[in-house]
């Protein structure tokens, strides 16, 4: 299927001259390879992203269980760990320092990039953009396929780094030089770091190819009548996400290229006046600046957190409106606040660098800009709450996760106001308070939004439902567990307990947290186990789940529910539906919902 074929949907509605408009998708023969492996169907690519992301989520989650074991029980011996991981990483059943840092680093890298960027955007942008806009496929299905396979390659390289002798990268997910630039500085800075950079470069290429496609599909391939202001909020969110990615990932790549030259070319962009104790050697590098890397990294790094949270916001808005049986409150305010977040995302990166010796005046500018983000965030929260207000709420698993998202987003957002202040950051920087903040507001919120999306669109993806009982158990244990894990970390952080430390029992003042740490670790294991329940539910339901028998099981207005229950490549067998109204006509004129495809009645005016 050529790229041109995807334009047919569009061409078919615009000029009848292109008569070949019905020879898409379902006419050509598909082999196993073209259907399931090198597929150019956006729905299959979405599933590939989702399942790859899930595998990474299990691995990344497992890593956190391992290092929580160390933090909760620093003195205990677990002989089984030595049996499983070998005596290098878990000598005597205790997690070794090098391994601990590798775990922390890989947990961050995997969850931030491979799960919550690749897994989240990759899945829902691919799945929903063409279906909700009324397009046959992406603007370029071929680039889209490449986007997945670059993601796959990045995954393979990153995974392989876990198995090399010196271990994976272990300088933190941010990979600050000089630690990341000098192979002699630590085990993980040797080959592991090179593989990390290569993998991340491949990941950047994957994100860019995906992002380009998402943007041009949204702006160019909307069906007839689908004006920008009739788009569901999911699409708006995915559009802003893609724009952020396309503008910020290349800068990260620049930073990585300079880092590679420092590692292997002998340049000193980031290096200056260094003495390495392990080799007892003074390095000749002069004039470099490690802070330069931090600027380049956080210029991506900060937009990255919005790349994670915006899709979740979009999914939640849609799921919430459908299940509250009410129009989303303040549609234009939602779009406007996402736009504001996207702009501010590029203007706040230095709030990660308040304690690097940043000019205090510059710091205060970044404080102001950072605190400004509270405004659009608060608008969004207000709109979600008012959407729920007096709604006819159906507590489906997706809806519960959407509500859980809002709860988490509020809790984590509030601590952002603490951390955004440069003066408070002197005390809170690099403590468990930061861990608590970003896990709640970005990590858990992001993943809850993703779960909301998966439970809601699962029937569209696989033509079957997931099991509700397992879903409810999954939700409640995850929500309560997440609060139990991360809430106490605020107290530890306020007391000054640092993040990333292998063992804090050397400080008498932190011994009071021994019991708390054991509790956190125990809950982390329970929550991890429940995620496996979700994974079971997911795969079991693909084959044995209750079959979907109605085209529109949730009573939603959007276009994906006008497609067949199991849509083929091309999505709609006949003509592409035409859109006559916005996506949120719920509880209107005495009707439960009015699909977007229904023409305006005589008593209605255009939205």
């Amino acid at each position: 299927m050529s790229n041109e074929a995807t334009l047919h949907g569009h061409a078919a509605t615009s000029h009848g001259a292109e008569v070949h408009h019905d020879e898409h998708g379902h006419h050509h023969k598909e082999t196993f390879i073209t259907k399931y492996v090198f597929s150019q169907d956006h729905k299959m690519i979405a599933k590939q992203f989702l399942i790859t992301g899930m595998i990474w989520a299990i691995l990344g989650g497992l890593m956190s269980v391992l290092f929580r074991l160390q933090l909760g029980y620093p003195d205990a011996h677990f002989p089984i760990l030595e049996d499983l991981l070998g005596s290098k990483w878990a000598k005597g059943g205790q997690i070794q320092p090098e391994f601990y840092y590798a775990l922390v680093t890989m947990h961050g890298t995997v969850l931030v990039f491979f799960v919550l960027t690749g897994g989240l955007s990759g899945t829902f942008a691919n799945f929903l953009i063409p279906l909700q806009l009324g397009a046959r496929d992406m603007a370029s299905p071929f680039l889209n396929m490449l986007s997945y396979w670059f993601f796959w390659l990045a995954s393979v390289v990153m995974l392989s780094s876990l198995f090399i002798e010196t271990g994976p990268a272990s300088g933190g997910w941010t990979s600050y030089p000089p630690l990341s630039a000098l192979g002699d500085a630590s085990e993980g800075s040797k080959t592991g770091m090179d593989l990390w950079i290569i993998s991340m470069a491949l990941f950047v290429v994957s994100s860019l190819l995906g992002g380009l496609n998402y943007i041009s599909t949204i702006l160019n391939l909307r069906t007839k009548g689908m004006s920008m202001t009739r788009m569901p909020l999911t699409i708006w969110a995915l559009l802003f996400t893609a724009i952020l990615g396309v503008l910020s990932f290349p800068v990260l790549l620049s930073g990585f290229i300079l880092l590679l030259f420092d590692r292997h070319g002998g340049t000193s962009f980031y290096l200056s006046d260094i003495f390495i104790a392990s080799t007892n050697k003074a390095l000749p590098n002069e004039g470099g600046s490690a802070i330069l890397y931090q600027h380049l990294f956080w210029f991506l790094g900060h937009p990255e957190v919005y790349i994670i949270i915006l899709p979740a916001m979009g999914l939640v808005s849609e799921v919430m409106s459908v299940n509250a049986r009410k129009p989303i409150f303040g549609y234009m305010a939602m779009v406007g606040s996402m736009f504001a977040i996207a702009i501010l995302a590029f203007l706040v990166w230095a709030h990660h660098m308040f304690v690097t010796g940043l000019n205090p005046f510059l710091g205060s500018v970044f404080v102001l800009l950072t605190l400004l983000i509270a405004v659009p965030s608060a608008i969004k929260v207000f709109n979600w709450l008012t959407t729920l207000w007096k709604g006819n709420i159906r507590f489906t698993p997706a809806m519960l996760f959407a509500i859980g998202f809002v709860s988490m987003f509020i809790s984590g957002g509030l601590t952002g106001i603490f951390l955004g202040n440069s003066t408070l950051d002197i005390q809170l920087h690099d403590t468990m308070f930061v861990i608590a903040h970003f896990h709640i507001v970005m990590g858990v919120s992001g993943i809850l939004g993703m779960f909301a999306g998966i439970y809601h669109w699962y029937p569209k993806m696989y033509g079957r439902y997931m099991n509700n009982t397992l879903a409810y158990i999954h939700f409640w244990v995850t929500l309560i567990g997440a609060y139990l894990i991360f809430w106490p970390m605020h107290y530890e952080g306020l007391a000054g307990m640092p993040r990333r430390y292998l063992d804090t029992s050397g400080w008498l003042s932190f011994n009071q947290f021994g019991g708390l740490n054991r509790m956190i670790s125990t809950v982390a294991m329970v929550v991890f186990a429940v995620q496996l329940l979700f994974v079971f539910n997911f795969f079991y339901s693909i084959f044995k789940g209750r079959k979907v028998i109605t085209q529109n099981p949730w009573g939603a207005t959007t276009l994906e529910w006008t497609a067949p229950i199991r849509p083929g490549h091309g999505n709609w067998p006949g003509e592409i539906p035409e859109v006559h109204r916005w996506a949120y006509d719920y509880a209107k004129d005495g009707r439960d919902f009015i699909p977007q495809t229904e023409p305006l009645g005589s008593n209605e005016s255009a939205h």
């Binding site: 790229n3 334009l7 569009h10 509605t13 615009s14 000029h15 603007a139 370029s140 680039l143 860019l208 992002g211 380009l212 496609n213 943007i215 041009s216 599909t217 702006l219 160019n220 391939l221 909307r222 007839k224 396309v246 503008l247 910020s248 990932f249 290349p250 800068v251 790549l253 620049s254 930073g255 290229i257 300079l258 030259f261 070319g265 002998g266 340049t267 000193s268 962009f269 290096l271 200056s272 000749p284 590098n285 002069e286 004039g287 470099g288 600046s289 330069l292 600027h295 380049l296 210029f299």
Partner: protein, 191 residues
């Protein structure tokens, strides 16, 4: 009503999705070079900054890439007028000029390297190797794309009237040209 619909569709047809994708991609490449040149500016104000002198080869390479922009534009015109012989020659010429550009860049690098500016250090020279090197990589990518497009256009017996690929190619080519002009002025002006 029908007229209004046609109007809406015409408006949306204004830009081909692949062209639009290319423009977004160019924005993305701009961000990469913006990141690197801002790193250059920040680094310049710090101690141990070193400079280099612009080699003569860079003037030649600049002239070469400017000419190649003209030739690809003429190639596009020839294609639209269905003058396939002229089109064929101009595309070949453009690719040759592209290769010549990369060779001149290499010679320029060599001159700078021989003047004692190697990869050791973190001054203007080291930035130049990386920034101009990445730019040359983008030109090489363009040359490969040009060759692929060229082979595809003449591989089948079916006559192709679709000018989109060559239009995309021309846009990209002008972009790498302009990017080099920007970088060249940047390296001359900011030492």
């Amino acid at each position: 009503m029908i007229e209004a619909n046609i109007k809406v569709n015409e408006q949306r047809k204004k830009i081909h999705p692949h062209k639009f994708t290319l423009w977004v991609a160019l924005g993305s490449i701009v961000m990469m070079f913006a990141g690197l040149t801002s790193a250059y500016i920040v680094k310049r104000d710090q101690p141990n900054w070193t400079t280099f002198s612009i080699p003569r080869a860079f003037w030649y390479s600049t002239a070469t890439i400017l000419v190649s922009s003209v030739t690809i534009q003429m190639a596009l015109k020839a294609f639209k007028e269905r003058e396939m012989m002229r089109y064929r020659n101009l595309v070949t010429l453009t690719a040759v000029l592209g290769v010549a550009f990369v060779v001149f860049q290499y010679l320029g690098f060599k001159t700078i390297w021989n003047s004692g500016v190697t990869l050791k250090g973190s001054g203007g020279g080291q930035f130049l190797y990386i920034i101009a090197g990445l730019h040359a990589a983008h030109v090489l990518g363009g040359i490969i794309a040009l060759i692929v497009m060229f082979i595809k256009a003449f591989a089948s017996k079916v006559r192709r009237y679709n000018s989109i690929p060559i239009e995309l190619m021309a846009t990209y080519w002008h972009f790498v040209d302009l990017l080099w002009i920007y970088l060249f002025i940047f390296f001359i002006g900011i030492k």
